[in-house]
Symmetry: C2
Subunit: 386 residues, 2 copies
Amino acid sequence: MTKEEIIAAKIRELKSFSGSHSPSIETVLQLIPEIEMKIDACFLSNPYATELFLNNLQEQIISKGHLRKMLEYYPPQNRDIGKFIQTFTNISAENIFVGNGAIEIIQAILHQFAERNVAVPIPTFSSYYEFLRQDCVLHTYLLSKDNDMALDLYKYTQFISDRKVDTAIIINPSNPTAEYITQQNIIDFLDNNKHLKNIILDISFVHFAYENEQYDYINYEQLIYQYPNLILVKSMSKDFGIAGVRAGYAIMSADRVTTLLDNGYLWNSSGMAAYFFKLLSQKSFQVDYEVIRKKYIAEARMFYESLKANKSVQVLPSKSNFALVELPSHINSFDFTIEMLTKYHIYVRDCSDKIGLKGNYVRIASRSEAENEKIVSALSLITNSF
Amino acid sequence: MTKEEIIAAKIRELKSFSGSHSPSIETVLQLIPEIEMKIDACFLSNPYATELFLNNLQEQIISKGHLRKMLEYYPPQNRDIGKFIQTFTNISAENIFVGNGAIEIIQAILHQFAERNVAVPIPTFSSYYEFLRQDCVLHTYLLSKDNDMALDLYKYTQFISDRKVDTAIIINPSNPTAEYITQQNIIDFLDNNKHLKNIILDISFVHFAYENEQYDYINYEQLIYQYPNLILVKSMSKDFGIAGVRAGYAIMSADRVTTLLDNGYLWNSSGMAAYFFKLLSQKSFQVDYEVIRKKYIAEARMFYESLKANKSVQVLPSKSNFALVELPSHINSFDFTIEMLTKYHIYVRDCSDKIGLKGNYVRIASRSEAENEKIVSALSLITNSF
């Protein structure tokens, strides 16, 4: 076997153990030392934000000798961390549930609040169906290729009504399609679905979306005061580039937060996550972050335009920090992924395991400007050579 | 109000918000800046182990520039971290469930596996009853003061049978009584209760227990192969002094692990926790740790003897790293706690909120040798002056 074939076989084996999620890149690199990865374009995060966090951690914690305290002592409890989140969301702490990453939140709300019939547009982030209780019925609403995989909220509302759904899920911007639905359209949907028990709106990618040319932040948080059935889910792994910290929060009615906390989740944030949320409540950090958020959006937009310029592939509309790319029918997406990795040392997400997504799709994240240029060039070289 | 009264009022207020758990010391110190705490004898951990962990973290991660990778990328998934735990427990990874602290594990197993009737000796660690599902019935088995709060396993077995219990809980060594039940007695209990659906044995403090004068580690892990209804719960916060990392594991039948993972818990460990478990699988770390584990036990034993020498208090038998101390009836335990904190800057755990514990009890942890001397001396000064 060639080195390339060995790597492909090993990755295939790893994937079979990891279920519908990609194996973590840590695991891939550790178990397949043959791989030399230079650009991780599978990982959907703002790399400039990671840097900003690390600089603050170095300055405020490590260089001041506070790391021991952070690792040794019990971190603040859920409600105390909620107070940090209150200061930057302007949402009362009683409406905030802090999670050990968004995945814990998804699990918690599905287990506690979904009644019986749950609707989710597919393809989607797999945790939304995998973590459903066994006594729930999953109603998948299949997005159509003919319509660029866009979610038509009127048809979705009809589907919800037909299926007697109590809990509806929307990811906006969507993962993996990257589609962004405007706030006005979401509000119309909320108005038309006030009778539902729960509307779960995952806004984990909203820091990368925009509705004007200034890329101003689109505030969905305040909507929970108008729509008591709305539950907002927010990962911090993407916009702040800190997946290893495990941090997320949800915003919902106060009684739901109380129900969750009565079931546990007392000390579910690490000292590092508590520090991150504390940092986020600092005005100066907010200002610094806002600059790099907009810088990253601008670069992601350029990246998207460059991808679209490649006429051998179909790039779905994106107002997020990644794009879903359909390869020409003669290029298998898994083979493409291996070619990118072994020849160009770029790791992209093969989407062949995504339920509801038929075709040769790969998901490619926007990284730093220099890295994006290499990704675009590798894509061209491969699509021209296959 | 005097400074002491202000602090007392503020602590009382904090406690009322924190439920039956002490407010975290981070929260106490942050919200009550008047407090100058020098010794945290509420916190049940081996401080030498914290140091050992920090030294390794510095050497293997921080100084090598690997911190960014740890915080930026998704950590390994649950089953992959289980493989690290496999190497130091000699338990197959398929029997290991990794938790974001023991509290997450307690919540997960109670929610998934408790059928209806759950027995727990009280006083206990409050998560064991607080996180019970609402459709479960809690059967509290009250420990008796006449018997030094010892758990009589034959009477407990009778109680379990009378109440038609399906899930029985034992913490060994116990929290908060510090009693250690020998392994042979636990085995007899397991033999007499094979018909139960679940026996949850919390061994979070077992690294501080001993059955011989060499303080050799007492291995409970292997028992799960003989007793399929046994679930072992293990916090890492105490023995390794890293509560802020949030790390724990449980050992149980492979089908139970699969059931839990089918419900979520995919990325529930942070990068820091993953590193900790990886470190634990290193032979050289294990050797270093074993030395300080025994050193700490020896010091805790000396501390326990010194506490017992104070004849104004009753010290319950302890083979753990703390002691439950009954103050004379004229000294209120909360007032004592405040006096220790404001006059001697020592924080001890007031147990007046512990259900099933009537009397003026405080729980005092063994810290470093020098700190222990100060704790013993402050205790004498206060009990003589009241």
